[in-house]
Each structure stands twice: as C-alpha cells, then as structure tokens.
Amino acid sequence: MRTHGTPLSRALRVVAPTDDPDDVAASIRDGRFCGIKVYHCFAARPDTMHATIEEYARDWMWEILHETRGAMILHIVRDGAMEDESNQQQLRRLCRRYPNARPILAHVARSFSYRNARRGLHVLADLDNVVIDTSAVCEAESFRAAIETLGPRRILWGTDFAVDGVRGRCVTTGDLFFWLHPELIKPEHQAPTRDDMTLVGIESALTLREACEDAGLTQGDLDDLFLRNALRTLSAHLPAAAVPPPTQGIELWQRAKATIAGGTGLLSKRAEMFDERAWPAYFTRASGCSVWDLNGQRYRDFAGGVGAILLGYGDRDVDRAVGRRISAGTYCSLVNPQEVELAETLLGLHPWAGRVRYARGGGDAMSIAVRIARAATGRSGVAFCGYHGWHDWYLAANLGEQSALDGHLLPGLEPKGVPRELRGTAQPFKYNDLASLDAALAKLDGNLAAIVMEPMRSQLPKDDFLQKVKARAAAAGAVFVVDEVTSGLRYGFPGAMARLGIEPDIVVYAKAMSNGYPFGTVIGRESVMQQATGSFISSSYWTDGVGPAAALAVLAKVHRLGVFEQMWERGAAFQAGLREVAARHPQCALTIGGMPSTPTLTFNLGPDAPLAQTLYIRRMRERGFLVASYAYMMLAQRDEDRSAMLEALDVTLAEISRSISEGRLEADSGVARGLRGFARLA
C-alpha cells in the first residue's frame, strides 16, 4: 500500500479476538494502520454466521479505536442484520461506550436484503459515530433506506474489490438474500443473455446511482458520499490539509445577513435570538427530535421548530402523504380534490362552522380572518390579545404608541411601513383582564369588527374569561376570532377552544396542523364566511397540494394516537422535572411556566437575564441540545431524551450559578450587560 497506494490511501489491520491488544494498539499508534478489520470467522464458535458482534469485535478492540480515533470495518452477521436484536443492543452499547471509535458498517450494515435496511437502519440514526459503506450491495432500495434514515453524510462509497469484479448480484428473497451468479444457473434454465450478467461492482454502482437520483441528491451530496465522508471518517489518520474543514453555521449566517433581508424569513430563527457567537444556525437534516448541523453534529431539539412540529421532524406518515401528493402533482390548472376532503374533515371537527379557507401560514391565515371579520361587519376596529403575525392590521397597534404590542409575546415590533391611517384600528387588551378589554372596546368606539385572541398561552383562562369575551363580541355585533396557530393540536384536539367548550366565530390553525409543511386554515361560521364572500381573498399557492395532504395526515395521526393527551401528560412530567432542576440552582432564578406541552424557562435576573439565557443556550448546545426560552414537546421525543435534557440542564445551571457567584456572567456569556438578548415573552 505504501508503495503503490495514493498518498491518502490507508490500511486496516485484520484482527482476531486472540490477538495481542498491545501489539494491535502499537501498530495503529505508529501509523502502520488507521484501524482494524474484524470478521465473524474469527469468533470462537463453529457456526460463525450466527456470531454476535462482541464475539469477534471485542471491547479491547473498541477501546484501542476510541483512544486512537481509529476506524473499524464491521461486517455484521446473523439473520436479520440490523434487525437482529443482539446486533442492535451490542452495537448501541459499544458505540456509546467508545464514541471516538469510527465503525464503518460494511455493505449498508449488511443490507444485502433491502428489507433488513428498511426495517433495521433506524437503529443507527442516533449512533453518531457510525457510518455505513455501500460495497457490493445491489439493491437500490437498501441505498434509499440508508439515504432516508442516515442521510448522505453517513454513507461511504465502497466497492468490496475484488468481489466487485465478479459477475452476478445479490438479491432479496423473503427476509434473506441470495447471491446470484451466472454459474449457478443450470444450462436448461439459462437465458440467451447469460454471458451479459454484469459485474457486482457495476450493478452496485447502477443501483446506488438510481437511489441517489430518486432521492434528489446534489453534486455536493455525491462529493460527500464518494470522498469527503471517507476523509472525515479517517481524519485522525490523514494530513490535516486533506480533511474537509468544518463549516461553521455562524459564518454562513453572516453571509446570509449580507444577502437576505433579516438573514432569514422568521425572526425567531435568527441566530441572534439564541447565541450570536456559536449558534449552529443551519441544518443538513432533521428526523424525529434530532437535528444535524452543517458538520453532521446531531442535536436533540427542544425548540420544536418554533412550534411548527408536534409529531417530530420528517414524520413518516405525514411525509408519505406529502410524497404521494408530490408524485401525483401538487399544482396544476385544476384543483386538488383533497381540499374538499380536508374541508369536510375540518368542519366535522368544528360542527359550529360552515366554511373553511386555506392559506399557507399562520400570519396569512390570521390576516384572512381579520379581513373576513371586517368584510362581514363593515367595520375596521380590532381588539386583540397575544401575538398574531406581521400584517398591517396587527402592527397598526404600535402606530404612534411604540409599546402597545409589548406583553403580547414579541415586544418592540416596529410598525414601519404600516399606513399611519390605520392608527387606532387595533387596540390591545390583556389576558384574563376584562377591564382592559372594555378599555380597548371603548377606544374603538362602536367600530369593532373583531375581537382576536389566542385561547391561552402561558396561563389558563380564569372566571369564564373566554365566555365573557365571546359575549362582548356578540353584544357588539363583532366577530370573535380565535388564533390557534400555536395552541392548535397542542392544548386540545383539534384545539384549546374545543377543550374549553367554547365555539368562536372563526378559528385559525397553522404550525402543528401540517407538521412542517406550509399550511394554514381559517374555519368560520356560515353566516360570517358568507357575508365576506364578496371580499377578494385569493392567491395561487393557497391551492397547492402539499399543505392539505400534510394536514389530513396530521389530523388522522394526532387523533388516532391521542397525541394531544400524550403531549400534555408527558409535558406535565417534564415540567415537574424542569422545576425540580431549577430549584436546585436558586442563584439562576429560573422560573418554569407555560403549558405542559410548551413549558417556558425564564431567568429572573433583571439585566443579567439575557446573559444567563445566552449561556444556557450555548452550554446546552455544547451538550447536544437545541433549546430556547420555551420547550416544545414532540411525539418523537422519548423518555430518555427528556431525561438527558434534564441532566444536561442540571449541569448547565450549576455552571451558570458559578459564573454568577464569581461575577463572570458577562465575560462567560460574551453578551454585554444592558444589551437586549432574546426577548420573546412567555
């Protein structure tokens, strides 16, 4: 290899359990090898095809690889491959115990049967040090499963030379596989094309290409798969200059700010809202409750996609429904019939309502709702409580009065560009405060079109507050609009209002309703919706098929699994855990609030709060968690994710306490005292 290999080529030592560990370690430390090759044939049993991983890949080998950051080509055996329970358990144990080892699971974790890949590869998703190679696999479906489950950053191209030079291919049959070679076909069964059965290497490359094309991989993905992933995996044993440098999300964020107004379209995703110094900012993939940044670093996400994700990222049922829609076409000159199916489903869930409208986001949908209310009443005034988006009707509240929106989730929203003629048309009131509502109504002086509010966010309604608000709207001949963009599916099914037993005139959903796909809906009483029929409300992409397909799948799954009830129950336990941890660190003055499915975390440290908040986000990120001042429960989060988060929080709060007591909070956070940091109000 040293003589004829390329400068970046490397070798593995073929190792057996009976080998001398010291000798093996020395041969890696001195650079002769960059890792080891283990194989079932060295297991101490006659039927080695049934050997468990630990029988031929002993702990001492993993220990050496952990120390040297060495690679291991691991060809698992046993029927079922990664479906096999002992393979799963042992691999999980070894990979977690020796996180610096770089196991490369040969042959897509021996997925010569694509069914093993479809059903078993998910076990590898959260084993961060594991990658797979493509060698000799000839089933495109195995590659598709790997791309879907692990993503292109964890797949390394391999040939299994010289097996690649043999004619034939491996085929799936039942739960197993079978190596088909032309020599196995008896002459009487041979087709005229016998001699044309191609090479394993060609077949593998063709099927890999097909899978990559089907998945829409980019040239960058292919460069990773064919080269860069290998260089990263072997990086500890290669010249530093040969290894692709890590991409810092925060650097890309700086480029974004130079090219995209605001850096990105959602204020709540700006890096400055979290940790300007080290927020990963960008993701390469998201699955379940995991998010991978530009360097393939995995985080467990408790920020919940800013509330849009209830089931988990890349939910299979939702993605399949959307995939079906995409395959059939999402947009054309005719209308997607699922719009009607969804409308009938939504009206079935809201028996008081008579019509629906569709949008593609919460802000748009709320704007539609207010337009409908104004059209139906012939008035313009809106009394509101809470946060409702970016549109003129809402930001008008801050015209001439910069603080009207303070206390409604996002303070300091500037009304620049909002026509000053709208001044006085939007009047805020406080939750559970009828006097403030009455004051707002008085300011609108008989011009009330709508009362707009979230059913609840950080506190439950008291003294029949919602019923009284509804009664005031009715008495004024106004429309009672409830914004369930955030609360929908989280605080009740289909929303908080249904749980509270209150029927508004209009209810608006978005976010969780489509679990990550653009969608919003306005559901209203027949009378109100009919009165607004003449108002021109129309847009091309409000008719695309992705949103309705996603919403139908979400509604079916949330209903079938009782997701709201599950999230409320799990959230309550999690919230109790947060309170317990917070109580152990009184110096942090951390208050846990919010609803069980969306707990909030607030540092009551006055001007030091943004400093502690930034440090909290940074330290939690370093421990593998994406967090914010709120936590969104997701169905995909497991008990172990929540427990791990609480453990990390405990350590983090201890660190912040030390920073506070030693007077180092400003220095440690890097945030200047007095500058406003993350300002979302809970």
Binding site: M1, T3, H4, G5, T6, L8, S9, R10, A11, L12, R13, V14, A16, S27, F33, C34, K37, V38, Y39, C41, F42, A71, I73, I104, A106, D133, S135, L156, W157, G158, T159, D160, F161, A162, V163, D164, G165, V166, R167, G168, H181, E183, L184, D195, D196, T198, L199, G201, I202, A205, L206, R209, L222, D223, F226, L227, A230, L231, T233, L234
Partner: protein, 91 residues
Amino acid sequence: MRYVQTLTPRDEQIARNRLADFLPAEAYDIHAHPYHPGHFPPGTWPFLQDAGVLGCAEHRAGVQRYLPNRTLHGLYFGLPRRTGDRPAINA
C-alpha cells in the same frame, strides 16, 4: 464465479453510458481487499483463482474500468479467513 479480467462490450457500454459521469474526479473506496494467493491455502478463494496478486494498482485499474475517474484512494485490508496467514496479510 470468478474475478473477471476483461469486460464485455455490454459492460463497457453500461460504464460509458450510465456510470461515466457518476464518480467524481477524486474518490475514496472505503472497502477494498488486496489479495495475494500466497497468503491462503490453495482453493480458499475460488473466485480469485488465476487472478494473481491484486494490489493498489490493480484495485485502481479494476474499479476504473467501470467507474473512470482521475484519482482513486483506497482503504485496504486483507480478505479475512481463519486459515489465512494474517501476519503476511497485514504486512
């Protein structure tokens, strides 16, 4: 079943028409087995009978006949067999 030294016209056609633009100019084969017949008892690897010694150069030439590119690195390790001469395989 044996290691093929020569591609058929159809193999070459597939490589030319469907694979030539697939592999980037530089690639890393993470799973490559060098082979020396002297390291194993006769008949251990029937598919490699008459293949001769297969080293890094043979690896590159063998792969590049169907996946042509400019630079092909490899992660090399011997074919594992209990009866193989592992000190020689690892040498």
